[in-house]
Amino acid sequence: MMRRIVAPSVGIVLAAAALGLAVNALRERDAIEIGRAYFLAAPGVPAVPPASAPTPARGPATQAVAPGFWTRAAEEFALIDGARARQLLEAARLDPTHVLFLDARSDGHYREDRIPGALQLDYYNLPQDVAPALPFLREVPWLVVYCESAECMDGYLLCRALVDRYGIARERLLLYTGGMRDWRERRLPVARGTGPW
């Protein structure tokens, strides 16, 4: 028993740990920071994936939220809808130093489609993405944050991280609740590929 099962099992687990940590350390994107608390205790945990939710086009881009999530999020941040987001895009086109859109989604989703002019700040690659953007983030008066849909928690998590870790004033953040799915459904203009516009 010991020789045939336990010792080899321990060996497999140790080898897996070594491989996993090594591969994780070598990743350029999506590396898991072992000591980082990616999720918050409030609002809206535990996250409950919606049964029979529409399947995302490519992989699980959404982080489902618990009932009452947006009510509690509204106590922390100003929430906006698609109509207001559209007005803000017009304002951003006229004066890019006045409004900046922040896309909290992954590389693949950002390249596939995004709100024109949006800067990618993937919540799960935040230290990497935020460093070059920090001067803009500190200067632009209004920051509009969005992720994939109203079932996505990442936009809210990004807002919290910008406030807690990077000192961005809470009052400057506008959270677009419907996200990219709502934007598409409204048939509003999108940008594709690399580069914000």
Partner: protein, 175 residues
């Protein structure tokens, strides 16, 4: 006529059940593990959705995301190669039992919360294959548990690296 004892004996001693179990369980887990390694953030979100591991401190959740896929890959590869069969089979069997209980409990919670029958629930189980319907997933897991048990309990070493290593000159290794 094959008696239950004869069938159990065949499962335990014959080469074919072991070969099938190795190929199916090994292949499935290598595939699942590779998908998780390719999309660690998706796995992190799915695992967090179960609410089993704490948000604070984050180390258990994050380490599981980093290490678990590699346990699946290594065990799957060992089964495919036919080495350390008992250990790899026992580990995968135990892990699949835990996954199955977690999926069943989580799906039951979703079904109750939304007034659906269990089989109407579809969610990303964190298995490395995106969203799944719960009932087929549970059936698949039960089959994997049975096959991993066959791999762990088989006495045959035919067509395995272990068999090659221990083969006597007369070729008596395995059946």
């Amino acid at each position: 006529m094959v008696t239950p004892r004869g069938f159990r004996g065949w499962l335990r001693d014959a080469a074919l059940p072991l070969l099938v179990a190795r190929l199916v369980v090994g292949g499935v887990y290598v595939w699942y593990g590779v998908n998780k390694v390719r999309e660690p953030v998706a796995f992190l979100k799915a695992l967090h959705g179960y609410g089993i591991l704490p948000v604070e401190p984050p180390h258990p959740l994050n380490l599981t995301v980093v290490v678990l896929p590699w346990i699946e890959i290594l065990c799957g590869a060992l089964l495919l190669a036919g080495a350390w069969l008992r250990a790899a089979g026992v580990l995968l069997c135990a892990m699949t039992v835990v996954f199955t209980v977690a999926v069943a409990l989580h799906a039951s919670g979703l079904a109750a919360a939304q007034g659906l029958s269990l089989c109407a629930v579809r969610f990303d189980c964190g298995c490395g294959i995106g969203e799944v319907w719960v009932c087929p997933k549970l059936a698949e897991n039960l089959a994997l548990i049975a096959l991993a048990g066959v791999a762990a309990g088989s006495r045959s070493r035919r067509w395995t690296l272990e068999g090659l290593r221990t083969a006597a000159p007369s070729g008596s290794a395995g059946r």
